[in-house]
Amino acid sequence: MVLVDDHGLFRSGVRSELGRAVEVVGEADDVAPAIEVITSTQPDVVLLDVHLPGGGGAAVVAAIRERGLPDVRFLALSASDAPEDVIAVIRAGARGYVTKTISTAELADAIRRVASGDAVFSHRLAGFVLDAFASADTSGPDAVKPSFDPELDQLTARERDVLRLIAQGYTYKEIARELYISVKTVESHVSSVLRKLQLSSRHQLTRWAAERRLA
């Protein structure tokens, strides 16, 4: 795993806490060094701070994607929860998002999940996604920007249910029990939400983010 964060103190903290669960192969504190470290070490997972001085986490993800390293997965991490930044990183290609207040055990779990190809949604991200996709059916004509696949523009009722429960702090296991489905199904719902989030060309998403920035 590679750890990218501009706070040295936080890096060393995460490193010592995760030491036993995860092997940290590299660290970086800015966009340019981060790209270098990641290309040279080719880690399974990059734990990436959303806010970096030289362009933000999204730039790192975009650069790595350009260099054609599809096996490197990104888990975004942030203290501030500014929704437009988080959505930007996810849309750039990160596989999940967690807040910095997350417990060590949960963080290790999230890293493992991302490494195995699953998506990781924190409750806050779930809220953002719900918000961004909200009122999809009632939006005015200006919001309808046809994408290649109209299905990408809307969440299914089930995906909404899952996101709602994530937003309420449920774990995947608890969601599975609550909705009478298997954990595997929950994971696939979350993955499909992530896909929609990344691929949808919804005008709505951009507009939503813009509104948030204004507020």
Binding site: H123, R124, G127, L130, D131, A134, A167, Q168, G169
Partner: protein, 457 residues
């Protein structure tokens, strides 16, 4: 010798022959159709709209009650109201079905209303009085026109008399139905002094007689002024006779409304005091070993109470917040500051606050405070979602939970502050709780129609 069998064909399964008349009629009809349950005719108290006559008839014959009612209404229209008194007579004469819940108490529910009304001499007098008053009114009306009122009115004289008897003698649950309609009649007797009553009635009779006489004497006349005088006299008589009833109705209505408003205000006040003062006192008890904290709590409570009593700003209300999300954030800050438990907030979309949503926030706040105080959970999740139709707030903790069935009745938090507060404003509450698995309180408040249409645009 072989025992003679009668009827010669064996009756089908479930055939119960009752010795009473209703049962015999029932089986006789059944022989025609074969759908009857075999029970005697009883008024059906489980599915009634009025006296349960239609529903009882429907059950007895195996019809659809709605169909029976529709047929009755249509027949009433065609018979120009003649069927209505028969309905009330049926109510009076057909016994009610047995209340399943009260069956063990041995109450004589089987008896018809008439079996009791027979011995109610005052009721009979009253019924005759009401019938006569109505007859006089109809006579007066008849002088002016012999149209619809006449043909429709006369059968209702019998209806009214029956109603009086039913109202005085029906079992309590049927009386409650009639109370709103019949309440006015009750004021004849006990309220006024007998002497005043007699004077009033005598005066009314004199006026009515004079007025009627006048009307009759000038009936053929072409003069317009003289019948007018008669009308005035008759009206005066009616006012004298019926005035106290009307006054009483109006007064009762006002009193009832006031009482309800007072009760609601009291409940609101109790909920607020619980949210603020009682909560703080409970906190002070738990932190008795920390004087600085106790002082701080007491100060904050004092400030809040003062602003409520002297500035009219309600405690527990999320003051100053302009929108739902802002209110939710304020709840988070309050809970974190007061109870030291982190609250994780997720809000989906936002909307301006109105009175209902303020109540929703107050209930959510109470749920958060409860979770912070009792659950022992390290973190509380607070989720709010605004959709075009409603606003949902979910408060969830992974604490020690509780058994919802074993909450003592005197613990007011959940019952008063959350449930009643929500239902007063048309919202709903769902509580999921189990020992060891935490508590989830879901609060849902429909949005006002105006806000809804605004959100859809």
């Amino acid at each position: 010798m072989q025992e003679p069998t009668w009827p010669p064909n064996r009756p089908p399964e479930g055939w119960i022959d009752r010795p009473d008349r209703a049962g015999r009629w029932g089986t006789r009809f059944r022989r025609l159709q074969g759908t009857c349950s075999g029970e005697p005719l009883r008024r059906n108290r489980d599915d009634r709209l009025g006296g349960g006559v239609a529903a009882g008839l429907a059950r007895w014959r195996g019809f659809n009650p709605t169909a029976v009612r529709v047929v009755f209404v249509i027949a009433t229209l065609f018979s120009q109201g003649t069927l209505v008194p028969f309905y009330f007579m049926a109510w009076l004469l057909i016994p009610g079905s047995v209340d399943v819940a009260a069956a063990g108490s041995g109450a004589p529910e089987y008896a018809s209303v008439w079996s009791k009304a027979r011995h109610d001499s005052r009721g009979i007098t009253l019924a005759v009085g009401v019938a006569s008053v109505l007859s006089i009114l109809l006579l007066i009306v008849g002088v002016f026109s012999a149209g619809l009122v006449q043909t429709w009115g006369w059968p209702q004289v019998v209806s009214a008399a029956c109603l009086v008897l039913i109202w005085r003698n029906a079992p309590a649950h049927e009386q409650a139905l009639l109370r709103r309609v019949g309440g006015a009649l009750a004021s004849i007797g006990p309220d006024a002094t007998p002497r005043g009553n007699r004077l009033r009635i005598a005066g009314a009779v004199v006026l009515l007689a004079g007025g009627i006489g006048w009307l009759v004497s000038v009936h053929e006349s072409v003069s317009l002024l003289r019948p007018l005088g008669g009308v005035v006299l008759v009206l005066a008589g009616c006012v004298l006779l019926l005035g106290p009833w009307w006054l009483r109705i109006a007064r009762d209505l006002v009193l009832e409304r006031q009482a309800r408003a007072r009760a609601e205000e009291r409940a609101d006040m109790a909920a607020r005091v619980h949210d603020s003062v009682l909560q703080t006192l409970a906190l002070i008890q738990r932190r008795a070993d920390d004087p600085a904290q106790v002082t701080q709590l007491a100060r904050a409570q004092e400030r809040e109470l003062r602003s409520w009593l002297f500035e009219g700003q309600a405690p527990g209300s999320v003051s100053g917040a302009g929108s739902l999300a802002a209110g939710i954030r304020q709840i988070q800050q309050d809970a974190e500051a007061r109870h030291g438990v982190p609250v994780e907030v997720v809000t989906v979309s936002d909307c301006p606050l109105d009175e209902d949503l303020a109540a929703l926030l107050a209930a959510a706040r109470e749920a958060v405070v409860n979770a912070a105080k009792w659950s022992g959970a390290p973190v509380i999740a607070l989720f709010a979602e605004v959709t075009p139709d409603d606003v949902e707030v979910v408060v969830r903790d992974r604490g020690k939970g509780f058994d919802p069935l074993s909450v003592p009745a005197d613990r007011k938090g959940l019952a008063e502050s959350i449930h009643r507060r929500m239902s007063r404003h048309g919202g709903t509450v769902a509580v999921q709780a189990a020992v060891g698995e935490g508590v989830k309180v879901s609060l849902k408040m429909p949005r006002a129609a105006a806000a809804r249409s605004a959100a859809r645009e």
